[in-house]
Each structure stands twice: as C-alpha cells, then as structure tokens.
Symmetry: C2
C-alpha cells in the first residue's frame, strides 16, 4: 500500500494509554492521518512512500500542545519585566496595546509566535486575544493547528463596546471558521471579574449552541479570589460552576489559587486546566496545586501564557520547569515524574482541549501532528531513560522535524513554508511602534 | 598596535560595576587578556588583528561561571529520576559509582561535561568529585577554566581510606596544579555531616597553607540541619563558622536551609554561595532564601550541581529558573531582576570563587573568557531589553562563540579542539557499564 510519508525513530513515543514505546519504530501517514505504526522494518515492508524520514538518533513523538496563550503578545516579549502586575499592565502592556493593536499587528505577531512554537515542537495552541480572525489566518498560513477563541469582556476595547458586541463577533467568527481543517473556533470569557454572571451565561449558551469550547482565566492571583468572594460570596471556581460554565467543554487557565473543593469541581466537571508555571512564577502570581489536581483526576495540561510574561513560547521548558518546581513545593521528588510531565504536554493537552480523539498521541486514525528530535547532543548523552531526557534535558533546539496534519512544516529545524528572516524583520518594524 | 583577536557585538555587556553596555562595541584580546574595549569603530581604528569576529546580530558578554558541580556525574544523567534522595543515592548512584569509578571514567566524563558547559556558554566551573587529577586534565584538554577541588570525607571510598589519606592526596594535587594557567586547585570538605570538626580544621589549615579555597555542601536538606543540631547543638553554618571554615576563601553550595543568623554569617564572612536551584527543585530539597541572602550582601552565584540531579549543566537555564522561581516564592515580581540574575551568573560567580580580579566581567586586564550569542532567533525577537532577553529568553543553543583565556574553543556553536562525536561515542560505551 502506498502512503504519503513514513517517519522513523530510534524511539517512537506513542503516548497512548499503555504508554507504548516502539524501539526502531515508524509511523505511516496518509491523507493527514496516522494509518499505521510498528517496527520500522514492518512498516517499510508493508508500505511504499515517496518520502521516508530516517530515524537514526531520533525520537518521534506527538507534537506538544500549548493550551493557553495570547500568541500576538509575542511582540511585547521583554517590553517590561520584573515589575508588579498592576504597573506592568497599566504602565506598559496596555499603553503598548493601545498604540499598536490592529488586525495587521495581530496577524504579523502570530506568525512569529507560530514560528517560535513550531520550532520548539508545538503543533497545537489554544489562544485568546483580540482580532481572533487574524490569529486564525496566521496560524493557517503557518500550517499550525489552533483553538482560537474570540474574547468577551463587559467593557469597551479596540474590538467592541460591550458584551453583546463581543458575543456577536464571536458568533460570526465561529461561523466563519467552523469548517476549517486546522482551526477550531471557541469563545473566551476573559475572567469572572471582567464578565458578569449574565455575560458568562450568554457565553455558555452561545458555546453550547455552536458546539465550541469556552475558555477563561481562573484564579490566577490571590486578588481575584478575594474580589470574587467579595462580589459573589463564593470562590471563583464555585461561582463559575454556578453559572453553568463548566457544564460544557471548558478550559480554565492558571487555577493557581484553587482550594480542595474547587479542585473537586474541576475534576468532576472534566474542565481542561492549563497550568502556566513560568508565567505564574515570573509575575509572582503563585504556584498552582498541580499534584493535588492530578490526584483528583483533573485534566491538567501546560500553557505558556503570552510571551510578555514568560518570556517565551517554549512548551518544553514549561514541562521541565513544572516537573521540577512541584517536587520542591510538595517536598516530594516523586510528583510529576517524567512520563507524567510528557503526558501532560501531549495527550494531556489534547484532553484539556477536548481533542484527544484527534490529536495528542500516535495512534491509528489520529491526525499526524508529529515531532522528531535529535538525540545526538552532548546534553542528551548518555541515554538511560527516554522519558527523563525528553522532560529534564531536551531543548527546543533539538527539534528537527515538525509535522502538522500530515504536512512537514519544520525540516532540519527550519521553517519550510516561509522565509524565517522575513518574519523576524517584520517584528523589528512593529517593535519600533510598540516601544514609542 | 597589533592584538591577537578582536571580537565585536551589537551589544557588549561588560558586567562591570557600572553595568556598562557598549552598543556596537568591540573587545581587543592580547596574550590571553582583554587589553581594550570600546565602540567597534574605535577599536578597529586603534588595533590591527589577524582575527576579527564580526558582531552583527550578536551579544558579547563574559562567560558564565558554574560555581558548583560534579562534572563527571554527567555520565549518570537520567540514570534514575523522580525518586526519594535516599533511594536515588543508595540504590542507583552509589552502585553505579561502585561499578565504574576510575581515573579514566572521570576523565572521559569530564570531557563530555566540558563540552556541554562550553556549548552553553560556561567558561569556568568549580568542581568537587573523585579523581580530581582526571577532572583537571580533562578541563585543560577541553580548554576550560576550572576550580578543581580534591575531596575529603571521614570514611573510605575508592580514592582513600580516611581523612588523612584524602588530605595527603589533596596536598599532592594542589602542588601538582598550582602553576597551571587554567586550573585553580582547591579542597572540598564533602559536608559537615561527613567531616568531623577535626577534619574540617585540618582542611582549613591545608587550604590556608596552600592559599587555595575550600568548598563544602551546606544545608542542602532539612535532614542535614537536624542532624548537625543533634550532633553539635548548632545549626550547620554556625557549626562550620566555629571550626574556622569561613575564615579563609570558602564556597558553600546549596545553602537551602539557612536561617537569618546563618545568612548573616555567610554575608559577613564573604562566603561564596552556590545556588543550585534546578537540583534543589528536582531532588525536592527545598528553595534557598536567595533574595534574603542577596539583601544581606552575600556573594550568591549559580551552580548546576551534577547532571545526575538536574539533568543538565546549562547555567543559562539555572539563571532563568532562579529568576522566576524566587519571584513566586517571595510573592514579589521585582526580586532577582534580569540584570541581577545575569550578574550572579557572571561577575557574581567570579566573586563567589574569589576570582573577580581575573574573570567575570569584560574589563581591561581580565582574562578573555568571552561568549557571543546570536540574537537573530524567533525567541529573541523583538528586542526591547537586552538583559531581559539574556535571562528570560536565551537558550544554550544561541551560543555561537566561546573563548577561554583568549582562545576560541567553540566556533559557530561547534567545538574546534576535538571531534564532538568521539566524546559522545565514548559516553555511550561507558553507559553500558554504568547501567549493567
């Protein structure tokens, strides 16, 4: 049988429920999907293909899934650091957004964000920001899979004047993108402190009606918790649950300050949790109780948040930082072991987004979103445990081949769809305007 | 005037006490040392040189200084992870050491460690392990600067049978290496729980007599603190201070569980503190009170510890992790700002080792230990603050040129003294024996 492509690896990490690892394995790809996987000699015997990617010294695994970001904020990377949140937002980020935000800005910025994510092995990201249409277009142009959420708040911004405005835009956006091969549209409620219960309920109705997910920032800071308690007499996750937010497919980013009762709600309602450790650390927001969430069975995944507060979009580094930080915080070196961390970054991300039937592992019938990394590096030598290396020692620069939807996007570490330098040059031009 | 080499950079980060940054700067190197630095046009006018390294899109800065490691343990990278400390040591690391340790093992392993450190921009490391002679020889072969400490404990190991044995070896080692251009010999007391007060005093006498530094692991775990209190009725730093350990040039690694009184001692006695955040996180040892140590004026620097507990030797990642983690732990996003973190990784490391007269910054008369990194990367784009990028966004793979003692060791990201693949191959061979 003829397939489109065969990719081989000294190790194929399937990340399926049995965590099967194929030594000297291969994956056959046909019409965007994985049609078979097995020992390389079996696959090469069974299938013919115009393209066979050699696996020597390489690991093939599912692409990483970044479940929470504001991709366009990559243009604010390092604009202001080491500041209290309020000063950072009010004196730096918001004024820069005020000067620059436009569909063109977001489109160009998201191209850079996609470039950075792809080169570090991320094949799917979930985004909330302004001008969702630009984000979706740029992701498609860059060949990346994305859940793009159109945002809703109760106050006027550059894209609307009130909740109904944003809801109308969101519905239009969802209709426009409902059939795209790479884009999954969604709705983002900014937060429980910027969306009234009434607005949250409207978001739920629209997302239920359109069969799309709803996403929200949840308990990122201690301030948010006390604010919501003072407004509604309940902790944020309880409050959101009461609005019905968690009764449909939902994703909650951060979840830093959730207590045991809230963790129970998140787990029972199957809410996708996006743990954004590096952003939470850098903004001094706190450290989310991830081991407790995992123990409760919550669908915890990783997000980079925006590059303005991180300062990169590298999911490998999120995974490594999270696996280490939680050990010290829990005083237990066994929590979030390497295999768990790698699951959270792949199939766990897919589960959080409600897409684990389609992506997140190397299994027959799933989309071919694959990454191959080069093991022949000093920092990956010697090799005793493949999961350990992928979590504690891997670097973004080890990523050599990235495939999304069966199409090779990064080859030998370089973008093949477009000139990388052009994307960097455009960023330099916009930066002039940002830092005015 | 003719010099050996001129290296240019869009930015030259001097890391001198005024934190001068030269835009379009250049550094002139003659006979191992920095003889001048200024605007590139001034330097290029003033000096002729057979080798001029272009600075376009590059940052030149002092090489990173890794103040605590066990370089040879790189051969145990990922051998065992996610385990309680006792099980990790007793069931995995010690048996592997028992099977393998020899001068040849250490020599070969340190070559790999140096390769990894050099490629991630580290030019000096401070080491304590078995077979110091092998470590020193391998570092010299790889062109790297190192403080190599000959170890002392009170019990028998593969290299000796009692404290006097180790002290004799240490004295011999110090005499053998006292005139080397790259190696600074020293003595390592393993810890206050493996060295009696009498042994510690002998170490102090020998180090004073030979004018070398003494190093020790200090308060890495809570267990150590209670153990020392139960044995001596004092906290570890107080106990060490009473032995006179801190009255000469000394370096204390970890310092996780030091209280305010102990921080005062470390600061007042000018003890070099090596903060090993990634190892401390991964082994769940705890998080050292670095902001308090910095506030007290202690000489805090970064160390990777051994790669068996990290799992890499990348100081860039230590710096980035530390700058972020302490913000969350302190609930203050302003602590360890980017400039502070970069100082700790460069001139701070030199201060901790008592070598700030010779290395750690780009100043006339200092040794030319320099690093050039490539800024033309998606994850370093756009650029608003150079310190921010060097700490929060830089990756080891951005390092292109590394010079130690005026000699280029890494060029275009590759080792030029030796075949990298040969070093990796040797590691693979030893790994067979390690994992028997």
């Amino acid at each position: 049988m003829r397939v489109d492509l065969i990719i081989c690896g000294d190790y194929v990490l399937t990340m399926n429920s049995a965590m099967d690892v194929l030594k000297n394995g291969a994956v056959a790809v046909l019409n965007k999907k994985i049609v078979d996987l097995d020992a390389a000699e079996v696959i090469l015997e069974k299938y013919s293909s115009p393209e066979i990617i050699s696996g020597e010294g390489r690991v093939v695994m599912p692409g990483f899934i970044n479940t929470h970001t504001h991709a366009a904020m990559v243009y604010f990377r390092g604009l202001a650091d080491d500041l209290p949140l309020k000063e950072w937002l009010e004196n730096h980020i918001w004024p820069a957004e005020g000067r620059c935000l436009s569909p063109e800005f977001v489109y160009d910025a998201v191209e850079l964000a996609c470039l950075e994510m792809l080169k570090s092995g991320t094949t799917t990201f979930s985004d909330m920001y302004f001008f969702a249409d630009s984000t979706a277009k740029a992701a498609v142009k860059m060949g990346m899979r994305a859940v793009v959420c159109s945002g809703v708040v109760d106050f006027p911004t550059v894209t609307g004047s009130n909740a109904d405005d944003y809801l109308n835009s969101a519905e239009r956006f969802i209709n426009d993108w409902s059939d795209d091969a790479l884009i999954r549209p969604g709705i983002a409620a900014h937060s429980a402190y910027t969306c009234s219960p009434d607005t949250l309920k409207k978001i739920c109705r629209l997302s239920d009606k359109c069969f799309v997910s709803r996403q929200i920032h949840l308990s990122e800071t201690e301030w948010e918790v006390s604010e919501i308690i003072s407004r509604y007499g309940k902790r944020p996750a309880v409050h959101l649950d009461n609005t019905g937010f968690f009764d449909g497919r939902s994703v909650a980013a951060h979840c830093v300050w959730v207590d045991a009762g809230e963790i129970d709600i998140l787990a029972k309602k199957g809410v996708g949790v996006s743990h954004c450790i590096e952003s939470n650390l850098k903004l001094a927001s706190g450290i989310a109780p991830v081991p407790a969430m995992l123990k409760a069975g919550a669908a915890v995944s990783f997000g980079t948040d925006g590059a303005a507060s991180n300062n990169d979009m590298d999911l490998i580094s999120e995974m490594s930082t999270a696996a280490k930080v939680h050990k010290a915080v829990s005083k237990d070196p066994t929590v979030i072991d390497a295999a768990t961390a790698l699951r959270m970054a792949t199939i766990g991300g897919a589960k959080a987004l409600g897409m684990d039937g389609e992506i997140g592992s190397i299994e027959k019938g799933k989309y071919a979103d694959l990454v191959a990394v080069n093991l022949k590096k000093p920092h990956l030598t010697p090799l005793y445990s493949i999961y350990s290396h992928m979590v504690y020692s891997l670097r973004a620069s080890d990523v050599e081949t990235v495939m999304v939807n069966g199409r090779i996007i990064i080859d030998k570490g370089r973008l093949i769809l477009k000139d990388e330098d052009e994307i960097l040059k455009k960023a330099g031009e916009w930066a002039q305007k940002v830092s005015l």
